[in-house]
């Protein structure tokens, strides 16, 4: 091997900034990361409130809850898929490493997820203090999620956005690297594993115990478990991306 230069004109600070700059790169897709999730949340909120208002008018005065606030979570699957498919090839053209791209994309999702969680918590606090907008209707303030306070509720929401994002990102990586057939097989495999788990619980007639465990663990405890699952999925996702050709 011949003469090789070690001195690069790149400052070490510039190297550290690269991962941070991936967040800016991802947010070029403002629509994906900002407007659509915000719209989904706002849309779900408006629809839910209209329904509560209708019910209230019809004389239903009991506590009204709905699952509308989970709508943006599902959209984070899409955010994960798009963060991977739309931006990975361009990140390679910008001479980024896969690790920089991955960590930066996770950070971008975290920024977006954090914003959503703040909105969610904010709505919940309003509902808490106004008694469900004065009509006993709750969109974000779901008792079971909020039993350990607003911080825990916000954390639950945030972890779920990240979980969905990582699932989307990983599926997109598998699809891009191995194609439709392999992704389908993986999804069927996960489905089989879940059915197997259900079968196991059913055979051992353990549903009451499972229900008991869920109640005892509570939403915060389940959230902590979800963090563990997300971390494992995130590692798997990185390992799939690591040797992925552009």
């Amino acid at each position: 091997m011949t003469t090789l230069e070690s001195g690069s004109i790149m400052r070490p600070a510039a190297a550290r900034n690269r991962t941070r700059n991936v967040v800016r790169l991802q947010f070029v897709n403002t629509q994906t990361f900002l407007w659509v999730p915000a719209l989904v949340l706002a849309g779900a909120w408006v629809l839910t409130i209209l329904i509560y208002w209708m019910l209230e008018g019809a004389g239903v005065s009991g506590v009204k809850t709905g699952g509308g606030s989970q709508a943006p979570l599902w959209y984070f699957l899409v955010v994960g898929i798009q963060a991977m498919t739309l931006t990975f090839p361009f990140s390679q053209a910008l001479s980024l490493t896969r690790r920089e791209f991955y960590l930066g994309s996770l950070a971008a999702a975290a920024v977006s997820g954090l914003g959503m969680s703040l909105l969610f918590t904010f709505l919940g606090l309003i509902e808490q203090s106004t008694g469900g907008y004065g009509m006993n209707g709750y969109f974000a303030y779901l008792e079971w999620v909020w039993e350990r306070g607003p911080l825990a509720a916000g954390l639950t929401y945030f972890v779920l956005t990240m979980l969905f994002f990582i699932l989307g990102f990983w599926s997109a990586t598998i699809y891009k690297r191995y194609g439709t057939a392999v992704l389908t097989i993986v999804l069927i495999g996960i489905g089989l594993a879940l059915v197997g788990l259900v079968a196991l619980v059913t055979w051992r007639q353990a549903w009451p115990e499972v229900g008991q465990w869920i109640l005892e663990t509570g939403s915060l405890g389940l959230t902590l478990w979800a963090i563990l699952v997300s971390a494992l999925l995130a590692i798997g996702s990185y390992l799939t991306l690591r040797r992925m050709p552009a």
Binding site: M1, T2, T3, L4, E5, S6, S8, I9, M10, R11, A14, A15, R18, N21, R24, L25, V28, N29, T30, Q31, T32, Q82, L86, T87, P89, F90, Q92, A93, L94, S95, L96, T97, R98, R99, E100, R242, R243, P245, A246
Partner: protein
Amino acid sequence: MDSVIEVRHLTKRYKDVLALDDVTFDIQRDAIYGFLGRNGAGKTTAMSILTAQNLPTSGQVRVFGEDPYENAVVLSRMCFVRESQKYPDDATPRHALASARLFFPRWDQDLADDLVEEFQLPLKRTIKKLSRGQLSAVGVIIGLASRAEITFFDEPYLGLDAVARQTFYDRLLTDYAEHPRTVLLSSHLIDEVANLIERVLVIDGGRIIMDESTEDARAQATNVVGDAATVETALRGREVIHRESLGRVSSVTFLGRLDDAERAAFAAVGLDLAPVSLQQLIVRLTQQRTPGRDTLAPASQEGTLR
């Protein structure tokens, strides 16, 4: 020799295709290379592996003395402009250039602004809606303005008209003169880039078949025109790479340098010598290696006579 890239025994195998077959070469600092070869010869694969966008099956790549794979310091000193680069869906040229500015440490915004004007690139239109030529211009501008120490252009001018291509060549040369760097330019328009490139690297069927200065490459072959029988006699013992006949007149391209005495001998028997264009030379050399004739065919069976 001052090499910035060292490739040793590089092999890349896709399922049933051997894209690179035990390739070894060096790329010197501050030179413009023509990286030439037919479609599917392995050019894009090689450049992808050098920039760590793809991974080798076996063999070794060193860029600035290090393995480029997941190496941020090395990668940030390179820029690879692909013919079929994909951009984020919502991105406009403005976004793409702003992003490039974030990641290339030697980015020159003035140069980028200049080029945008010269290529008349609409900055606010989404990239999906650009014409093929405008799309190419985005890549060309990123490649030039990034001023990366090693820049790879893979067929960068698809859809660019002749004027825009000339702009690219002129700008590349001017900027190269002021900021010397290493450029690998892959191109099918060999004669267009012939005056630009200092060295030629020709790849064919996954193997490097030529690696020398453009001048030496050109001197490798000569074309002779004249009476068919006289040509045959004069060329006895020389390696013919192409032959065309019209009636009793032959035009034959052969390998080997000629000294002054030899030139005089050709002239004495009424044969005209002409230099071969780089494009012709490379077309002839790569044509000979079609399947079934895997090695350079010797003069007796070169069989391109029609």
